[in-house]
């Protein structure tokens, strides 16, 4: 009986020690993954900055003109097509919703 009790106590102690060691191991793992996430986030930010710089209108205009020989369309080269439709009766208002500026309550309103 005593031997069994001793064995149970020893197993519990070993389990406790194993748990503590494992927590530390997982802690290191979490830190490694967090560092990796930070590095990937930095890479993502760097790429966003690059994409944004490469899509700047000035750069695109120069590339289109200098590399591709493109030029702005001249008069009559753009034809806008107006599509005439029969709108449903519940079509939204043409004007956006207006609010009165807070500091102008005393203003002249119709």
């Amino acid at each position: 009986m005593k031997t069994v009790a001793f064995a149970v106590v020893m197993v519990l102690l070993l389990l406790y020690v194993w748990e503590r060691v494992d927590i530390v191991r997982v802690g290191y793992q979490v830190e490694r993954l967090k560092s990796k996430k930070v590095a990937l986030q930095r890479e993502s930010d760097e790429l966003r900055v690059k994409v944004s710089a490469l899509t700047a209108p000035e750069r695109i205009a120069h590339a289109a003109a200098d590399k591709l020989g493109m030029m702005p369309p001249g008069q009559g080269q753009i034809v806008l097509v107006r599509v005439e439709t029969t709108l449903p009766t519940n079509a939204g208002p043409a004007m956006p919703e207006l609010r009165l500026a807070k500091n102008e309550v005393g203003g002249r309103m119709p």
């Binding site: 530390v24 710089a53 709108l87």
Partner: protein, 576 residues
């Protein structure tokens, strides 16, 4: 063991020594565990725990289409520990190659008698990678957030910039700093014997929230068009500078705000602080003939004039309060419409006199001159509109031709927008939304009416007269093929700072108007400051208006007057 044991004494001595040793250990244990317990526990905590302040990254700034205009990125900063350097000059030479800084300068820093020195802060990521390859002893790097403006000088005067420690210093960066700044949070880290972080105190601790994102009403493409055309005009006329503002007249939303000369917010120290100023808001100028638009509005609203009312042009010369007012074109009887279209100073002065001081002052104020528009940008000036009690005998005539009054470009475009939209003076704004990391709106700005200075009928009549300025008057160069344009030219003499009188050589040429006249989508003001050679607003500023409008209108999908029409049946679910 017996009394005659020859080793007894030796054993007693050994036992006593051991006892003394144990007593010593016990005493030391008592000292450490009881007497110095608090102090030593604190010291151990300091060694195993590290408390750091973590700040969420600064929020981004985007245009109305969601394109990135300002963004934060973690970049390396380099520091040195002079005490641990054996060969400072060699290290300085290696660093100089990567940092593109003089080696002497770095060496001077590394020879200082300090435990820590900054060598260079907030480098480019490429430089950081090159530094990692060097692995120099006594040199380290830490990551810090750096603000990037990927579009360079585009919209610099609106965006502003932030300082080395991430605080907003100018423009949107300053005005919306409290929203853009990330949350600050203290985090306790557990460290092992080698100083490595094991994990934060609580695994459930949330990272600090990043700053909120600001979405502007500005459109990157229209901004580029406005800046390009303004810069070209300023260069062509060898002018001191220029301003162009594009507004959506129905809402007061600013679509573009261009200032020339520009600066790059990524390198603000490369230019003088004077270049950072957003002149569209901060600088008031005498508008000249563009002010006739608002005198005409007052006269029509008060029914003092109608488009056909005849006014005598005094053959180009009229004396008011002992001073002479000239017209550049001699005329006899002309209609009120022609007064505006030909930009007659004498006709405008007579109109103002017919209105009287009180009404002229009331309408000028009603159109928003002499007061801040409360736009969401810092540094706005109110301009200058004197109270009538301070007016001189010539003031009424001067006001009519845009003298003795100071207005900003923003006030001018907001006022002309009121004519364009049927009489509503709107509050101008540049930020449409501020939202958090989850896309939840924190602030939402929309169109706000300040007041209604004129009726819709007056606005319509005035629009017709202003169309005549472009078709038959001084603003012919503002005509946009395929669209009806309404606007007004302005040429104002500047005060010579040396003499305090109007300069015969320094002028401001301007044009303000809107397009298409029948359903205005764009209100634009263009101001060219001190152009050389020709200074007429109709010559230097009107063409800029045309070039901005003729590119921006098709971009916005605004149909010209004679579009191709396709009849098409559409179900309710397909309706736009």
């Amino acid at each position: 063991m017996t009394a005659n044991d020859p080793h007894r004494l030796r054993r007693v001595v050994v036992a006593c020594v051991l006892m003394l040793g144990f007593v010593g250990v016990l005493c030391r244990l008592f000292t450490l565990q009881v007497l110095q317990a608090a102090e030593l526990t604190a010291r151990a905590d300091r060694q195993h725990r590290k408390t750091v302040t973590v700040e969420g990254s600064r929020g981004g700034i985007y245009d109305r289409q969601g394109k990135v205009l300002a963004i934060n990125m973690d970049v390396p900063s380099v520091f040195g520990v002079p005490a641990s350097l054996e060969n400072p000059s060699g290290v300085a030479r290696d660093l100089a190659r990567v940092l593109h800084v003089k080696a002497d300068e770095i060496e001077r820093k590394l020879r200082q008698e300090r435990s820590f020195v900054w060598i260079a802060r907030k480098l480019d990521p490429e430089q950081g990678r090159s530094l990692e390859g060097l692995s120099l002893e006594g040199i380290g790097t830490v990551m810090e957030g750096r603000r990037f403006y990927p579009k360079g000088p585009l919209l610099a005067h609106v965006l502003g910039f932030s300082g080395m420690d991430g605080q907003g210093l100018e423009g949107i960066e300053r005005r919306y700093d409290s929203f853009l700044r990330g949350e600050k949070q203290l985090v306790v880290l557990q460290r092992d014997a080698l100083g490595r972080t094991v994990f934060p105190k609580g695994l459930n601790e949330q990272a600090p929230s990043p700053g909120r994102s600001v979405v502007l009403t500005i459109d990157e493409v229209i901004q580029y068009i406005a800046e390009k055309e303004l810069d070209e005009a300023v260069a062509a006329t060898r002018a001191k500078g220029g301003v162009a503002v594009v507004m959506e007249p129905r809402t007061g939303a600013v679509l573009a705000l261009a200032i020339s000369p520009k600066f790059d917010p990524n390198a603000v120290r490369a230019v003088s602080p004077d270049r950072w100023r957003n002149r569209a808001l901060t600088d008031a100028y005498e508008p000249g003939s563009t002010m006739k638009v608002f005198i005409a509005a007052a006269a029509l609203e008060e029914k003092v004039m109608d488009p056909g009312t005849l006014i005598h042009g005094e053959n180009g010369q009229m004396t008011v309060a002992g001073t002479v007012i000239h017209d550049h074109e001699k005329s006899g009887w002309i209609t009120f419409s022609q007064v505006i279209q030909k930009s007659s100073n004498i006709g405008a002065a007579k109109t103002a006199m017919a209105l009287g001081e009180e009404r002229v002052h009331r309408y000028i104020r009603a159109f928003g001159f002499g007061e801040k528009s409360d736009i969401d940008l810092p540094g706005e000036a109110a301009g200058l509109v004197k109270e009538t009690k301070h007016w001189g005998r010539r003031s009424l005539a001067s006001m009519a031709i845009g003298q003795e009054i100071g207005v900003t470009a923003l006030q001018l475009v907001t006022a002309v927008s009121a004519v364009a939209n049927g009489g509503w003076l709107m509050k101008p704004y540049v930020v449409s939304e501020v939202h958090d990391g989850k896309g939840q709106a924190v602030v939402q700005n929309g169109p706000q009416v300040r007041r209604r200075p004129i009726s819709v009928e007056t606005a319509k009549t005035l629009t017709g007269i202003l169309e005549g300025v472009v078709t038959n008057g001084t603003g012919g160069k503002a005509a946009v093929p395929g669209y009806r344009v309404a606007g007004k030219t302005g040429t104002a003499q500047k005060i010579d700072p040396q003499t305090g009188a109007y300069s015969p050589t320094l002028f401001v040429g301007s044009f303000t108007g809107f397009v298409p006249a029948e359903d205005p989508r764009l209100a634009i003001v263009v101001i060219i400051d001190e152009p050389h050679a020709e200074a007429w607003g109709g010559v230097v500023a009107a063409p800029v208006f045309r070039r901005i409008a003729e590119q921006a209108l098709p971009y916005l999908g605004v149909s010209s007057r004679a579009p191709v029409k396709l009849a098409m049946a559409m179900g309710p679910e397909e309706a736009p």
